[in-house]
């Protein structure tokens, strides 16, 4: 390959990557609620917006060189490394980075990673496979090296690793990757089967798990690879890389290798969609004895609930049973061990009740219910006009609301009952009102989440006919719900405030939500186009 060819391939692949990254940015802008109205329909043809998206795209290309590596060092290398306080930090740093690098040789090869970039360039645009693959490969190795050297110098210095080895590590990473890829190519020439790093065989998985155990397990037991050995291995990867370089550059069958792993990628993508649809269909009970004596919408609902027992009643009954066992154990412990009561700081413990917002969020069946409702029922019935009559939509909403509240109420009642019993034992008869509030707040939270998910479903109906979520607003509200529930873990409130707030919020929310559904659902409860 001449320099001019390399330059041309590099420029083309950048332009290609940039084009769809820019389009992705513009597409995302059109998905954000409220803001999307500011943009014209032909957003992809507006020069100013294109320039703006291009700037973002270039900024991302540059910053991502460092961001991923920063994340890698903060979490996997130094984050976990900090756990081993008994061992010298320098030794831990070298040990962890050495073995993670070796794992990277197998699961982060760049060369055998089927990406959409490669699919567009090699399959759709018919670019020269070898030129494209090699240009892309060396570009990625170079990017890695720049990111690595920055981080090894920063984090290496913090961990008192000699500076020279910090400069060596990026080249070791590249060298090792090239050497392993060369061996993989050799294997391809012998067996004719391409390696796909996203579709690992059982043996490779086992190897990776063993290496992971060595990376993090050995230090936990107090063992590290000797510093000198780690450094020697890291240095040795460089000449090995030079050795492998020749094969990587002279290998001729990149087209075949890429076609094989790219077709596997496309198949995986197709299968993922199919599997997701099938997995929801699989929930439907095959029990032929299921029947119903009800009529009309009650009949439909009754059969739906019975045939979806697995994700509804069966699952909440199990939750309730576990909670019951925990509650009984707690009540017995507090009753028979007087120290537990004496030592417990009632006010302090009960002020942690906001934690249960998160727990109630986590055990609610609302999202599973609405997903199954859509996938197995509404996506088809919504295409029939009789189903979409306003009074029919609302009648079924009321039935479904009653049902999902019932399903969620069982574990909530057990949890609420158990908690108030424990607090009653600790606090005594003087606190009976507060204990009742504990019960009421847990029940209110359960009702709130049930109403919340079903209302969202009826007001935003986020799915399209291929059962993909197509509503930005829906996804954002789901995330905010999670975030608020999560933050509540850290909130401490007196039970009087929390309990009354919970009950009041739940009542107001239910009233508003139902009013909104009755007002808007006949229009909003539609399949997205």
């Amino acid at each position: 390959m001449s320099n001019a060819e390399i330059r041309k391939t590099l420029v083309t692949s950048f332009a290609l990557k940039n084009t769809y990254r820019v389009n992705t940015i513009l597409y995302s802008l059109k998905q954000i609620p409220l803001i999307k109205r500011l943009f014209p329909a032909k957003i992809y043809g507006v020069p100013e917006l294109k320039i703006f998206a291009n700037i973002l795209s270039v900024m991302w290309e540059i910053s991502s060189v460092f961001l991923w590596k920063l994340l890698y060092f903060v979490t996997l290398v130094c984050g976990v490394g900090a756990v081993y306080t008994q061992l010298p930090s320098e030794g831990v740093f070298l040990h962890v980075i050495l073995f993670l690098t070796v794992i990277g040789f197998i699961i982060n090869t760049h060369l055998f990673n089927p990406t959409m970039d490669k699919y567009y360039a090699i399959v759709l645009l018919r670019m020269d496979a070898k030129q494209y693959t090699l240009t892309d490969y060396f570009y990625r190795l170079a990017r890695d090296a720049v990111g690595f050297v920055t981080m090894t110098v920063i984090f290496g210095s913090i961990n008192k690793v000699p500076l020279w080895i910090c400069f060596i590590i990026p080249f070791s990473v590249a060298g090792g990757k090239i050497f392993c890829s060369a061996i993989t190519l050799l294997d391809y020439e012998k067996r004719g089967k391409a390696y796909n790093e996203n579709k690992l065989s059982k043996f490779v998985w086992i190897a990776v798990l063993i290496l992971l155990a060595i990376t993090y397990g050995l230090p936990a037991l107090g063992y590290l690879i000797p510093k000198i050995a780690a450094m020697a291995l890291l240095v040795a990867f460089i000449p090995l890389g030079l050795l492998g370089l020749k094969r990587v550059v002279t290998f001729h069958n990149y087209k075949e290798v890429n076609r094989e792993i790219l077709s596997q990628m496309l198949l995986q993508l197709d299968n993922a969609k199919e599997i997701s649809k099938k997995s929801v269909e699989k929930i439907i009970s095959k029990d032929t004895k299921i029947s119903s004596s009800k009529k009309g919408f009650e009949y439909l609902n009754d059969l739906f609930i019975k045939r979806h027992r697995k994700i509804l009643w069966k699952s909440t009954k199990f939750q309730a049973l576990v909670l019951l066992i925990l509650a009984v154990a707690a009540v017995i412990s507090v009753s028979v061990i007087p120290e537990l009561r004496a030592d417990a700081d009632y006010d302090k413990i009960i002020s942690n009740m906001p934690y249960f917002v998160f727990i109630m969020y986590a055990i609610n069946r609302g999202t599973g219910f609405t997903k199954a409702l859509f996938m197995n029922c509404d996506h088809s019935l919504l295409t029939y006009s009789f189903f979409k009559k306003p009074d029919h939509i609302l009648r079924l909403f009321a039935i479904r609301l009653r049902e999902i509240i019932k399903v969620n109420l069982l574990p909530a009642a057990v949890l609420g009952g158990g908690l108030s019993a424990v607090f009653f034992l600790i606090g005594g008869t003087g606190k009976i009102f507060e204990c009742a509030l504990v019960f009421l707040s847990v029940v209110s939270l359960s009702v709130f989440f049930s109403v919340h998910y079903l209302t969202l479903y009826y007001l935003l109906q986020p799915y399209n006919p291929s059962t993909e979520i197509k509503s930005g607003t829906y996804s954002i509200i789901q995330f905010v719900t999670y975030l608020i529930s999560f933050v509540m873990i850290y909130v401490k409130l007196p039970i009087l405030v929390f309990g009354i707030l919970c009950v009041a919020f739940c009542l107001i929310y239910c009233a508003v939500a139902c009013a909104l559904v009755y007002r808007f659902a006949p229009k909003t409860f539609r399949i997205r186009g």
């Binding site: 439907i284 009949y299 029922c377 088809s380 295409t383 006009s385 009789f386």
Partner: protein
């Protein structure tokens, strides 16, 4: 009975797809709706079925000299990809539909009579719909749409993906159902339209236009249709 579409307009993102459609459909006839890809056939059906909001326009039924706006029970809409609630059996779906619509269905038959009518075998009637074949799902969807005897039956590419036997059964079914109602079906297959329809309607330039059916000269008739649809492309 007549079904009149008056001044129907619909735009998407500033592009006018339907530009003031005015057309009257007559009872007892099958209309074949032809149009190029993207001409707005599905949009037209979705507007009649009130699946999407129209920008302007009226849909009127005239019966015995009286005119009124259409209501949802007037319309049956059979989609090209059949969709049926997977968790119900064929019989349960039928029972549910009849329960909900018992007031509007005249002369209710037994479920088995209905199944016989669309040739769904006895073994399949109590199977979950998720296990139905494509053709059986199609029949089921058709059945649900005709039980309530809607005045207007819309069919979007109804026979395209069916095997030859089911397609022939469906054709017979459509012919047997045409009296007393207006049947409009969209298709890309010209032969099918000529074979089954009493009248061909072209959707081009966002407007509906009837093509005189020339029985004497089939070839000339085809050429007229192709020419009319090609014009749109050459503009």
């Amino acid at each position: 009975m007549r079904f009149t579409v008056r001044n129907l307009t619909k735009s998407y993102d500033g592009k006018e797809v339907l530009k003031g459609i005015n057309f009257t459909f007559e009872e007892g006839r099958i209309y074949g709706l032809l149009g190029r890809n993207g001409a707005g056939k599905t949009t037209f059906f979705n507007c009649i079925n009130r699946d999407i909001k129209v920008d302007s326009g009226q849909f009127l039924i005239e019966d015995n000299g009286q005119s009124r706006e259409i209501i949802s029970t007037d319309v049956g809409y059979v989609l090209s990809t059949p969709t049926v609630p997977e968790f119900l059996t064929g019989r349960e779906f039928l029972k549910f539909f009849i329960d909900i619509n018992e007031k509007s269905i005249t002369d209710i038959k037994t479920p088995d009579e209905y199944f016989d009518f669309v040739s769904i075998g006895e073994d399949d009637r109590d199977k979950l719909l998720k296990d139905y074949s494509h053709g059986m799902k199609n029949k089921m969807q058709m059945l649900i749409n005709i039980i309530a005897k809607p005045n207007i039956l819309l069919l979007d590419e109804p026979l395209t993906s069916l095997d030859v036997v089911v397609a022939e059964e469906m054709k017979q079914l459509l012919r047997s159902l045409k009296s007393g109602r207006i049947t409009i079906f969209s298709t890309h297959i010209l032969d099918l339209a000529i074979d089954l329809c009493d009248e061909i309607v072209l959707l081009s330039h966002g407007e509906l236009e009837s093509v005189e059916k020339n029985y004497a000269d089939d070839k000339a008739f085809r050429e007229t249709i192709i020419e009319a649809l090609t014009e749109e492309n050459n503009e």
